[in-house]
């Protein structure tokens, strides 16, 4: 019997434990008849810094680690392309999109991918300034989720800042930033529904990537039987569990906020078209750029959207 150490930096009550980590552990123990088991190290017990999770996996500090590729987007340019505006419409669709591109994505990770999923496209949380039209966001300071969002945010006429998620609640509350652009589940996980008075949805954006990885040397050193067990307990089905959970908590975030008196502003199709037009120059630039492995943005997009024939 072999016990594997699974590290994640959130607390054990985080929905991803219920949706992904525990189902993986249970399934692995089940299919292997207890030959392979998983010990959980939640709360960053093995390392509490979110950007460092990939690194501790490579070092063998953890056997399995949960990571956000967006923290080191330069290393995972194709994976993180999923967050490009218009790439996909919700967590489940964005997860499907990444699995269509699984071949180049696997090459980006020096590890075995156990699960790869996305959350909901970002929405805009504001305190004093309701954002109903393109003009409303001009000149505002926006906390963005990843560096890839910058050109699109600036194309809208806003200024982008980066800030650790731990301080966004406080910073929205005291006006350090005007807007927090993040997936709607943050209304719950970071209590953004408290400082925010408005949430604008249907803005250009797409989900962010999440990944559960196994140390490559460990996987390669396993017997064929053990590899088969790991493969059976992981993969696309597990990823979809994560995606469905993110879609559910994203919706819950909106519902809870609305119930707490936050005004939900959904851009209508006409207004959304104006936003899309505003970001088109930035979009054209991205589509023409080389993203990675010789693929242009346009090629990655058609691969992820399944339009490459």
């Amino acid at each position: 019997a072999r016990d594997l150490a699974l590290a994640y930096f959130m607390g054990p009550t985080h929905p991803m434990n219920k949706a992904v980590f525990t189902p993986f552990a249970e399934k692995l123990a089940e299919v292997s008849g207890g030959e392979l088991t998983v010990s959980m190290f939640p709360g960053g017990a093995l390392n509490s810094s979110p950007p460092k999770q990939y690194s501790i996996l490579l070092d063998g500090v953890a056997d399995i680690a949960f990571h956000l590729p967006g923290y080191t987007a330069q290393l995972f340019p194709i994976t993180t392309s999923v967050t490009t505006p218009g790439m996909c419409a919700d967590a489940v669709e964005c997860t499907e999109a990444m699995w269509r591109a699984i071949e180049p994505i696997e090459k980006e990770f020096d590890a075995k991918i156990l699960a790869l999923w996305a959350n909901e496209p970002q929405v805009l949380f504001t305190k004093d300034k309701p954002i109903r039209t393109l003009e409303d966001i001009k000149g505002l300071v926006v906390r963005v989720t990843s560096a890839q969002d910058i050109p699109f945010t600036e194309a809208l006429g806003a200024s982008a800042v980066s800030q650790p998620v731990s301080v966004i609640n406080q910073n929205l509350s005291n006006g350090v930033v005007d807007v927090v652009s993040i997936d709607p589940s943050a209304a719950l996980s970071f209590k953004l529904s408290e400082p925010a008075n408005y949430i604008t949805t249907n803005v250009p954006g797409a989900g962010s990537a999440f990944v559960l990885l196994m140390n490559r040397a460990l996987y390669d050193g396993m017997s064929d039987q053990e590899k088969a067990w790991v493969d059976e307990a992981s993969g696309k089905w597990l990823s979809m569990e994560g995606a469905k959970m993110y879609r559910a908590i994203g919706q819950k975030g909106i519902d809870v906020s609305a119930a707490a008196g936050v005004e939900i502003i959904e851009l209508d199709a006409e207004e959304r078209a104006r936003w899309d037009a505003a970001i088109q120059p930035a979009m054209d630039e991205w589509l023409a750029s080389e993203v990675g492995q010789g693929l242009t943005g346009a090629q990655v997009m058609s691969l992820m959207q399944g339009t490459d024939g």
């Binding site: 990939y54 330069q74 290393l75 560096a147 200024s159 982008a160 980066s162």
Partner: protein, 176 residues
């Protein structure tokens, strides 16, 4: 009064020079850190035009400040220890325990130095870059490696000076 052997005195001078160099590097990095923090506030509040990723510059400046501080602190006796034994036993006991303590300190510092250089060398493949501006961590890992390496050398020197002063007072003994 026992004389410290010439070779050790020379070593002491070299390490003193390295510690001062570390302090200069650390001070300059601290100046950068302070400037970056103030500039960041100014641009965001006064000009309403925040500088994206300025925290990345601040954190990398912090690594150099800390590297310099650790090395400089090792010569200033800044790295605190708990001196209960100084009350419990006399020099007869502490000259033995100090050898053990310095040996432990040297080994862990040498390992840490090695680990920092090894890990730093991995570079971009390990995702070792800042999240916003993509500044490579490598040189900053090395800076910390140098800082802890100087501390390791200082500890080793204190170990040897302690042995040379076995029969008398140790000039580097923890003071209160």
């Amino acid at each position: 009064m026992i004389e410290t052997p010439l070779l050790l005195r020379r070593l002491e001078r070299i390490l003193d020079a390295l510690a001062v160099a570390s302090a200069v590097a650390g001070s300059l990095a601290l100046a950068v850190l302070a400037a970056v923090t103030v500039i960041g506030v100014f641009w965001r509040y006064v000009l309403r035009d925040p500088i994206f990723g300025i925290e990345d510059v601040a954190t990398m400046a912090l690594t150099v400040t800390v590297a310099g501080a650790i090395a400089w602190g090792s010569r200033r006796g800044a790295h605190v220890s708990v001196n209960v034994i100084g009350w419990a036993g006399g020099r007869g006991l502490t000259r033995i325990t100090d050898i053990a303590a310095r040996l432990v300190s040297f080994v862990i510092l040498a390992l840490a130095t090695y680990a920092l250089f090894q890990k730093g060398a991995c570079g971009i493949a390990c995702g070792a870059m800042t999240s916003n501006l993509g500044i490579l961590h490598k040189p900053f890992f090395y800076a910390l490696g140098v800082g802890l390496g100087i501390y390791a050398a200082v500890t080793l020197m204190h170990l040897m000076i302690g042995l040379a002063h076995w029969a008398g007072e140790d000039p580097n003994e923890v003071a209160e």
